[in-house]
Symmetry: C2
Subunit: 500 residues, 2 copies
């Protein structure tokens, strides 16, 4: 019961009597005070999100730096962090901030202030305008780049701290905030932020680290991910220059008769990367380090699978069938346990409308590899390079742009217990899920030397990460799904759960 | 000897005496009168080319229509064509024009008024500005889209007719001019122009058809092509929608674990199209209709190969070695005799800078096929479709955007004799070459029902067709290579050669 419910009840005589009889049970706690502030600052919270969406930082396009970091620092200061430092790296700057409430416990929070690229032509409303739109069945949402990934959830987290300030209540736990601006290019410089001595020292004191995320599905259910796959993003570049065969600039396509083609060379190289099923990685040694799920992980997975909705999932993805026509169960086991080689993009020669009779001197495949424990980003990249060399493609450049190792968190850790308690405080019984198929640089926290529990946390819902019309629910049509205020409250609950 | 040389000679007493002794041989013919006009109209000719380059028609981008056709019609009228008709087609309009000089013979001339797409960022001067630039070793050139392919040569041809007008001399042969605006997309509607009854009737009277082209190499040598390969341009499109597997819109790349990928599907399909050498077409039946060179064609080819310059060719193409490390001789035999499957472009998913973690729902390969006799565009397209279906890729769309059959012309035809005579009149002994590896819609003339000889003709030199910094020589640094005026003269010579 939050304070608004209490005050509403107090307006009736019967409730007033009831209060008289149970004074101790209904005493207004500091937490209630904080929660009571959320509704009143709703418009300000929405505006905070809209203003932030208007200022995108996109590392792949070198857009919005260092402004994005400076803005992030301002947001942290406004939310009550006493110490806020910009951390320079070899790439884009990060931000480190601490809020020392004099509490016994520390919690780490990870933010990314960057967002994915976008093409406004593909959007139904301008991606930086963060328009409030009525979305049938969902409620009122904000449509914009970064709305759900992850400015919406991050603003909810900051708004929780604003609510503490407004209520004049100290947070029950101290907070170490680490922010980076290169998550969408694979966090190549994140360790430079985390392992700065003062940052590492602060994180060492933490019981774990969360990244704010709208974790609710459309039915209101929530999963706690006990880890995430690792990732390597890279480009494979085939060129006449490096190959020493074919042309070194684009030439007329008729000359293909007497020349080798860097494009065919790339196609042949790519074709060796997966087996005949067009899916299973065929890079030698790719599966050698794959550790099977533990009995505990299997149990957690099998308990969770029946609660997933196949029809809803297929509809959301625009999918008729799973790989190999597998059952939903088997496809989910695959999702959790299998490493992948994915083609993000193909770019070669002429890419405009119609055709152009050239033999291109260069062709590129944009690839991502998803890794499961105990694969490593570096080890897998090496395997790929060895594989290409062995198959006669040593000339093909393998340009890694970013990536990190997989991450795992103990289901019995204090962090997972706090996450669980916070969700339950809002009436949701979270489902444990053994491993997110997506990736985040959690290994920086879960790996040596910090070895902290780490994971996603937060009520609320959004969709369209990396896609057009990305959205985040502000006012939810479904009472089981939190809107912005419910998401804000989840961070208040979480901070209290961390204090115990 | 042209008229300028004569007049120059006449200025010396000794020459005047010589003239007295050889009056008949040095009599000024009407042809001399015409040729004498060329130098005087030089600036006007250059301006005609610059003005035309400034107005590009690009069918793939639907740019410059119907203005390009209307401009073409004006150019024809200005050059003295009495009848000039715009011919509507299902695509872009064509132009048909006749210049009836009351002569016994007719010659057909083919123009394309369209040009290839361009990206100004890749050019050293604006591609529509047609700047006069000093090009070391070459002389003064015009840099612009269409400069050599083929507005430069076409302007030279038109300027020849202006010279007739200026000299008050009737052309010695009647001319039927057919123009299209879709050559660069494979001339999908050209037969609708050629086989309009009045156009077909005019062409039937012609001894053959030429397309103006700067045919000189940098050493001044000239080839007469006795045919050209055919071409099919097409897109192969792999999509979740058509395949019924994988996503129907782009989704997060982590989902590749449980989903099929239309991009991998395309890679696998492409990989079946060539053999392990990454070059030789592997489509079943692709070589069935390939007719070996005749003894006469072989003889022509073997006579011509030693006159080609390997070092120069490699340098121009940016190439270190030929396919299979073959000798120049063998690679040229291959160039003439082998059909090809070339990748013009690859476009799938995310194509911008850096990466983007998506699993794309669609991937496209832009392909061209080059055909030799007796392959046909339609037959080869059918083979490709059958091949894809047989290998499990029936869902991949094969969208042909244009193309035509190969073409051949008899080396003993009147047209080839006229071409040869015209080149010799300018001191160049042309080399017969059995087959151009590039393509042009000559089959519309050489095939049934017209069955006319057809080929390229013209002095002069340019390069960079379909590439940045395309150029056409205006004033040549090498006396063996014609500049614009020499190119103009070649059309005067050609028209006279057609009259005999």
């Amino acid at each position: 019961m939050d304070r608004r419910d209490f005050l509403h009840g107090a307006a009736t005589g019967a409730a007033a009597l009831a209060i008289g009889r149970h004074t101790r049970a209904l005493e207004i706690s500091p937490k209630d005070d904080v929660i009571a502030k959320i509704a009143g600052q709703h418009d300000q919270t929405v505006k905070m999100l809209q203003d932030w969406i208007a200022l995108p930082s996109i590392a792949a396009e070198n857009r919005g730096y260092p402004q994005g970091a400076e803005y992030m620092a301002r947001l942290a200061r406004d939310a009550g962090f006493q110490r806020v430092d910009l951390i320079q790296t070899k790439g884009k700057p990060g931000v480190f901030a601490t809020l020392d409430a004099g509490a016994p416990n520390w919690i780490g929070i990870y933010f990314m202030y960057d967002v994915k690229q976008f093409d406004p032509a593909e959007w139904s409303s301008p991606p930086l305008e963060a328009r409030l739109v009525d979305k049938p069945g969902l409620g009122k949402v904000i449509v914009g780049r970064g709305a759900t990934n992850t400015k919406g959830p991050q603003v909810a987290c900051l708004a929780a701290l604003h609510a503490f300030k407004a209520a004049g209540v100290k947070p029950p736990v101290n907070i170490a905030l680490v922010c980076e601006g290169e998550e969408e290019i694979g966090s190549p410089n994140f360790p430079q932020i985390v392992f700065k001595p003062e940052v590492e020292a602060a994180l060492k004191k933490c019981l774990g680290v969360i990244i704010p995320l709208g974790s609710q599905a459309l039915d209101g259910s929530v999963e706690i991910n006990l880890g995430a796959k690792g990732v390597v993003e890279l480009e494979l570049v085939s060129s006449g220059e490096k190959w020493g065969r074919g042309p070194q600039h684009d030439v007329h396509s008729s000359l293909e008769a007497q020349l080798d083609s860097p494009s065919w060379h790339l196609i042949q190289a790519l074709n060796t990367l997966v087996t005949a099923d067009g899916h299973t990685p065929a890079v030698a040694g790719f599966f050698d380090k794959v550790r099977p799920l533990s009995a505990r992980q299997k149990q957690i997975l099998e308990a969770a699978i029946p609660k997933r909705n196949e029809v809803q999932t297929k509809k959301a993805l625009g999918v008729d069938r799973w790989f190999k026509n597998e059952s939903f169960h088997d496809s989910l086991v695959r999702l959790v346990t299998q490493p992948t080689i994915n083609i993000e993009g193909l770019v070669g020669g002429y890419t405009g409308p119609g055709g152009k009779t050239i033999l291109p001197h260069r062709a590129v495949a944009k690839i991502d590899l998803r890794l499961v424990p105990d694969m490593t980003a570096k080890g897998t990249l090496d395997l790929l390079k060895q594989h290409l060399a062995k198959h006669g493609f040593a000339d093909i450049e393998v340009n890694m742009s970013g990536g990190y190792d997989p991450t795992e968190t103990d289901p019995d850790s204090k962090l997972v217990k706090a996450q669980t308690a916070a969700y339950r405080a809002q009436g949701v019984d979270p489902l444990l899920w053994p491993r997110l198929a997506g990736s985040w640089p959690g290994v920086t926290f879960t790996g040596a030397p910090l070895k902290l529990p780490a994971g996603q946390f937060g009520m609320g819902h959004g969709d369209g990460a990396h896609a057009p019309d990305e959205y985040w629910i502000i006012e939810s049509a479904n009472p089981k799904v939190a809107g912005m205020d419910g998401a804000v409250r989840s961070y208040v609950e979480f901070l209290y759960a961390c204090a115990t």
